[in-house]
Symmetry: C2
Subunit: 316 residues, 2 copies
Amino acid sequence: MPDQARTLAQVSEGALLAEIFPLFAGGPGMPVGPGDDAAVLATGSRTVATTDTMVRGRDWVDEWSSGADVAAKALTQNLADVAAMGGRPTAVLVALMADPAVSVDWVLDFARELGARAAEAGVAVAGGDLSSAPTGVLAVAVTALGELPGTAVLRSGARPGDVVAVCGTLGRSAAGLELLRSGTGAGAVAADCVAHHLRPTTPLSAGPQAAASGATAMLDVSDGLLRDGSRLAAASGVRLALDSALLAPDVDVLREVVGDGALECVLAGGEEHSLLATFRGELPAGWRALGRVDEGEGVTLDGEPQQPRGWDHFAG
Amino acid sequence: MPDQARTLAQVSEGALLAEIFPLFAGGPGMPVGPGDDAAVLATGSRTVATTDTMVRGRDWVDEWSSGADVAAKALTQNLADVAAMGGRPTAVLVALMADPAVSVDWVLDFARELGARAAEAGVAVAGGDLSSAPTGVLAVAVTALGELPGTAVLRSGARPGDVVAVCGTLGRSAAGLELLRSGTGAGAVAADCVAHHLRPTTPLSAGPQAAASGATAMLDVSDGLLRDGSRLAAASGVRLALDSALLAPDVDVLREVVGDGALECVLAGGEEHSLLATFRGELPAGWRALGRVDEGEGVTLDGEPQQPRGWDHFAG
């Protein structure tokens, strides 16, 4: 029987774990790795902790995303949250809930990519859980831990006069999703957008660097610039005044692949995982201004109030 | 419209989180709580980390278990893993994946019990994730973190001559499940078994105490005495020789509610979350001997090799 045909129902949990554990690197930061009741991690005096999930049919469809793609996206979502606190990610734990009819290959493809990307980022895979689920269900919950080299950068520290800035791109993931949906798109920009939608990256080291450079507030763009920006604005009790001239480079590059939808991708596109922050002084290298912090509330574009559209998980 | 009728589809993620966060206690161990990109926890030099999931239709059915029951069980499963390393749990993160048709009441019932039990155990709820899921899906992934006051107690340290011991009961959860299935059972023992199946507890402080008393190996009984015992035996390269006379008290008490099935409940019943450990010297208070560690492999009962039956998540 070809390997492709093996399903989770045909292997024991122990046999599957024996195939998976070697895919995860250990290291000095993890005195006890996966396989016991719990892992033991070397930690500093403050640990950053966050969790994020992906559910098949909601956060991905198998037609577009492989197990490796899901691993890459789930990892980035969580590591971006650690970076957005000014933290350096150190470890992840992964829970997989799967219909026993899911192929072993999907799980190994997922685990292989997770292990490789975690190792590349210097992050230990500290264990996880395999759980069977009803027909059709496939879901992944990742928890990421990190250390804080300096001060935690919250969402609430932005003050009028600060500069609003981004590290990374805007709208690429949303444009990639649009291209996948329409089945159109050719060329380097289209390929880049699709790649960023399927396997987003986040500027990991920019988080602690921003913290060291005095960032006053920070988060990652996971649900869209307007929605995440409005969260930062609300937490800080300020208004973010965005300037369309400063967004033009992002819009222009996307116009060639999604036409008039480019601005909306930039404003409302989620799953981008760039870092959005506010700074009082000069911007660190790699960051570019998008506007300024004013008194008031919400997010404006060229002075016009914007609805905080973007992704809401349970919206009807 | 009565509150009962509200579903997740009818509330925004932000509004739901605003109802949930006040249910979770903070504390000095958590300088930054839920609501930002990540929480910040005060940690020692070594952090224990583990994750475990519950999926509706596999790990519980709504007919028997409320949201509060699921919270209690999910919490105990994870805290038991921390205790079984010799750790003291400090924080949990919770990811909820839910069909938008799930009622808001279920989620609040879950969150309220989670918050109350976590507070009782001195454990911070450090955040989580709410994710929508396809029709019918409801799943919970909990990650627990803890500190290690002493040495981590692994599964691999048992040596011939050690005493095998348990802290807590055996077979109650399995007997409770049997009673729920058969719709029978009356009296205090039956009620206790059903309660332990729906809302299991774990002797949390016994974990670090066992570590301080020189436990050589430890785990919690989550998949059954034989299956978990065989894991400890395999990791340590030894045989666990159980003595039926020492199991008799557990069997006798269950016989009145499940008759001849009592021994099987004690040997193979999962979700008990008592602690199973091996000791070289005297047993600490609260522990009782079940047998001894011999040279060899596997688990025996009165010298007879036992199949490591019990729960395997993906077994067909």
